[in-house]
Symmetry: C2
């Protein structure tokens, strides 16, 4: 799956991923009305609204991008009904041949991590049947509990040719509270990064590992260090756009082959129609605004990578 | 909700929680057969089997215990259908007036953490309605991303009188890989413990904070240190029983008031009928075996607390 991600990035010339993190506030009124007319102002109605919203955005952008990254929390907030919208979104993205990064940030001890891994990346046995739960291609995971929380994910990834992105340095302002604390003279996130490289060495694709890392766009200096520390690790970079990261900040997240990183934007793409820059599209054409925002983001990053050469 | 937990622990004299972490392997054949006869060997059939299993265990134990702790991973492994069984389990436990600790180990940045918090502990606005997603009483969360990943959970907890258990020192063998690393001469888990106490001071119940900590039974010396570092923090203690922790190891997790900790057992209770000690009950009476295992666990911990006095 890392090979597929790399090849799709090369084909689209777009090392980006669209974060499908909808809130009801992002969903234009005409879509909300349609969903509520059918299901009422219920969890089911909200889930339908998210799904209709996502579908249009996927339709408008899928041929420009290699991957989508639905943030499961935005669906989980609507309970089981929301999870249903998450699953429909995954299935639809798959039908468009997009690589799916489930932003689930799971992590637990041994057998419990395995249950998460099976549910999201693997297959589960029910009687004589072997079935898929959510079926993402990659999942984000939290390393706080150490190797025996990560290894069950790697095991399932090996069986299924799937991959992970392990949190190393997150994009939020207080990420330094624990991640930046010095251990033997080096910040915790570097120790985690080293572990990610070590875990990754056990499950390699052609040029990159199936085990990637999450490093926020908001800390470009740390991104530069981590890039060197984990040369074969693909880096998923959140924090572009709405959180403040720009293309020029991101050049050091990439290797000299122009690969090695994939930059996420969520609000900046899916709620583009609410920004002054794209307001001309109007709420009715929100998905066209998203398409334009994708084109602009690709060009921003491509320009930054070219001028860095 | 922390006051309710304390008062229920006092009423039952049972500082324990039953971990509802079923796998299909734990579900006796006659229940599997019943579920598969109705729904086939499908995700729905598996979910039904888990739910029927949980219901009998709750029926057999609810009047002995203050709380249950369903581990969401065991449901998530069966996709959306599994999540439905999780939700049915929560609703049934609530109807029996049990305190519900959702073992979800979530955590993300700002608005995403808030979405998790709303989905699991709070209420979500849909049009003019205000609705509940999963509706647990407590949730476990992961602190790796720092304060701005935890604060949105605390905000929702304040609005709803609900609580948290933050991972501090987990029970698994490799938990030390990052958690035990020394920062300014002290292990990371102590720094996290101090933060938990600080977060907890902002949301206090009568004698304990709404913000608790997870400290594994498998590290009793560390439990002792953390107990002193976080005097007003309720400690959720996994790792009893199947993972190796015994009542005698746990006395230092409690304060002198006999409170301050709640010990979880999962496999040791719900799969008791598979253990030699309880085999006499037979698979048909698995729930009675669970009841006996609860009685024995309460007596083990009560004995340990008494002989420590």
């Amino acid at each position: 799956m890392i090979n597929k991600l790399v090849s799709k990035i090369q084909k689209t010339n777009a090392p980006i991923v669209v974060g499908l993190d909808p809130t009801l506030d992002f969903v234009p009124e005409h879509i909300q009305k349609k969903a509520f007319a059918e299901f009422g102002e219920t969890l089911e109605g909200a889930a339908e609204a998210l799904w209709l919203f996502n579908k249009e955005i996927i339709d408008a952008t899928y041929n420009l991008i290699p991957a989508v990254k639905p943030q499961i929390a935005m669906y989980e907030t609507f309970g089981v009904e929301g999870m249903q919208a998450y699953k429909r979104t995954l299935d639809y993205a798959r039908s468009k041949d997009l690589v799916i990064i489930g932003d689930i940030k799971r992590g637990d001890i041994g057998s419990t991590s395995e249950a998460y891994a099976i549910g999201h990346l693997g297959k589960v046995k029910v009687g004589s049947n072997v079935l898929s739960g959510f079926n993402e291609d990659f999942a984000t995971i939290n390393p706080y509990m150490g190797s025996d929380s990560v290894n069950p994910f790697i095991k399932v990834c090996k069986e299924e040719n799937k991959g992970l992105f392990v949190l190393v340095k997150t994009s939020n302002p207080s990420s330094g509270e624990f991640q930046d604390r010095l251990i033997d003279g080096r910040p915790l996130y570097e120790h985690v990064g080293e572990k990610v490289a070590e875990w990754g060495a056990t499950h390699m694709g052609d040029s990159y590992s199936y085990v990637g890392a999450v490093v926020g766009a908001t800390y470009p200096e740390m991104g530069k260090t981590l890039r060197k520390l984990m040369p074969k690790t693909f880096i998923l970079v959140p924090g572009y756009g709405a959180q403040g990261g720009k293309g020029a900040d991101l050049v050091h997240y990439f290797n000299e082959d122009g690969l090695g990183a994939i930059v996420n934007s969520s609000r900046g793409i899916i709620a583009a129609y609410k920004m002054e820059q794209y307001a001309k599209f109007g709420a009715e054409n929100f998905a066209e605004a998203s398409r334009q925002a994708v084109i602009d983001m690709i060009s921003d990053i491509d320009g930054a990578l070219k001028s860095a050469k």
